[in-house]
């Protein structure tokens, strides 16, 4: 059964230097508060993975927490490129990082294989695409029945998966609504997991019987962090803060403005400030269920 903890304690107990971590979320439900806690605790040499690394990966990389990034699309969606990631890849600041690059289909399949306890994922992919030339972890297998050549990639099995969700029951069961991403697969593929939630409830009364995505016994730690996805969003609770994503492009454009922002908004504060950050977004257009 999941342990209920403060976010600081959950991170201290479950995230170690050198770990591989999936902070998942597909635009929706990105665990910003948890990533900030990892930065505050000064974790180093992390291998981080996500299909769509965005602001939190820019922050982790810029603060020097990351050794290696496994990803399939690294951008600030609808806004542009990730400037701290680019600075690390193009100029080695604050230090060089290793990258392992895939397609979305590959990573989605690789998480699913991890959740299923398989060593690798097999899918029809990468034909005519050059990632096969630069990523030695993309190989091929021959179907024993049809002879078709298929792509194969290793299963993703992070040490820790960290996600944000709508609700946890008092048993630690987890409910998510809306865009589901690969969160269920990431948690089931991982050795340990931390789920931050908007709300802790006695039960999921009124929810669809199909709505609970993870039973409490598959989750390691649950932390109550209202607003913990901001500037990402929680379907039906608060809207995506598109202006903050646009603003990030300016913040991250220079090393100095980036470091000043991190000092002010991450290092000097705690996860309790996330509830305030979403107040003006509650009930805004896009938050309606």
């Amino acid at each position: 059964m999941a342990t209920f903890q403060s976010l600081a304690q959950a991170v201290a107990d479950n995230v170690k230097d050198g770990d591989s971590i999936a902070f998942e979320g597909f635009t929706h439900l990105i665990p910003h508060a948890a990533a900030h806690e990892v930065i505050r605790q000064g974790r180093k040499d992390l291998t981080v993975m996500r299909m769509t690394p965005d602001i939190i990966y820019d922050q982790l990389i810029g603060m020097g927490c990351v050794k290696k990034l496994i990803f399939s699309f690294a951008g600030n969606p609808g806004v542009g490129l990730l400037r701290r990631l680019r600075d690390a890849v193009e100029n080695g600041w604050p230090h060089a990082i290793e990258i392992e690059e895939h397609s979305h289909a590959a990573m989605a399949n690789a998480y699913e294989a991890g959740a299923a306890g398989l060593p690798c994922a097999i899918f029809r992919g990468y034909r005519g695409a050059e990632l096969t030339r630069v990523n030695p972890n993309i190989k091929t297998v021959t179907c024993p029945f049809t002879g078709e050549t298929l792509a194969a990639v290793p299963a993703l099995k992070p040490d820790v998966a960290i996600i944000h969700a709508h609700k946890a029951s008092r048993k630690g069961d987890i409910l998510i609504e809306g865009i589901l991403g690969v969160q269920k697969e990431a948690v089931l593929a991982a050795r340990r997991s931390i789920v931050t939630v908007e709300e802790i409830v006695d039960d999921f009364e009124g929810a669809s019987p199909n709505a609970c995505i993870l039973p409490g016994w598959t989750v390691t730690a649950v932390a109550h962090v209202p607003g913990g996805a901001h500037p990402s969003y929680v379907q039906g609770v608060y809207a995506r803060d598109n202006a903050a994503y646009i603003e990030w492009d300016k913040v991250a454009s220079e090393r100095e403005t980036f470091l000043a922002w991190m000092e002010e908004n991450v290092l000097k504060v705690g996860p309790e400030i996330f509830a305030d950050r979403v107040k003006h977004l509650v009930g805004a257009k896009g938050a309606a269920a």
Binding site: F73, S103, L180, V182
Partner: protein
Amino acid sequence: MSDFTPTEMMTIAAARALRNDDVCFVGIGAPSAACNLARLTHAPDITLIYESGTIGTAPNVLPLSIGDGELCETALCTVSVPEMFRYWLQGGRITVGFLGGAQLDKYGNINTTVVGDYHKPKVRLPGGGGAPEIAISCGEIFITMKQSLRGFVEKLDFVTSLGHGKGGNDRAAHGVATKGPTRLITDLAVWEPDPETKEFTVTSLHPGVTREMVAGTVGWTARFADAVAETPAPTKEELEVLRDLHARTKAAHGGGSDA
């Protein structure tokens, strides 16, 4: 001469290429504008699918990201991302994939990965995302991009997703049975692949555009079909619907992107 911009003409020409019974895998930016314009004009029953898992979505404003809440609220259903790529895309249920990119060659191969050497890039771009498999698994591919010498190049720095490869039957040689790029819609023209060589050939020039303007903005020798048509100018309705959509989008995103 005209009261519309080249970008508006590109979006409208791309929208016209979509049919009411298409099931379309939509990318963010110009493809999203074109697909939603089609839905709001001649193709009201078109099925729009975004890779975040939303199937049959009908957003009132264009999403800033691939996973905005608006997409889920207006969708028929929302599935997980592994399901989206396995059952829906790889399963062969998508008729049209809409792609753009940083670099394009004359066979419709696309680069969204790096400018320069992969290991020492001049510019690190976002990467392929869904594109490598969209390019091989959708029934056909439409590409929409503004023409420029920087973008329309003789040789890509990196092949992120397969178009017609080296031309001719190269897709089949890669074990790919789908049609690949069947249309390239730019701010100046509509291009279609030559039936034999698969090289993009201009089949329609937008109003007021000359062959020299087209040829001067591509890094290869532009080919023109025997009979080059003129793209019909945007109708009053097309322009009004597109501009309303952009105005709603701009208001909703706090002055952000109107892509």
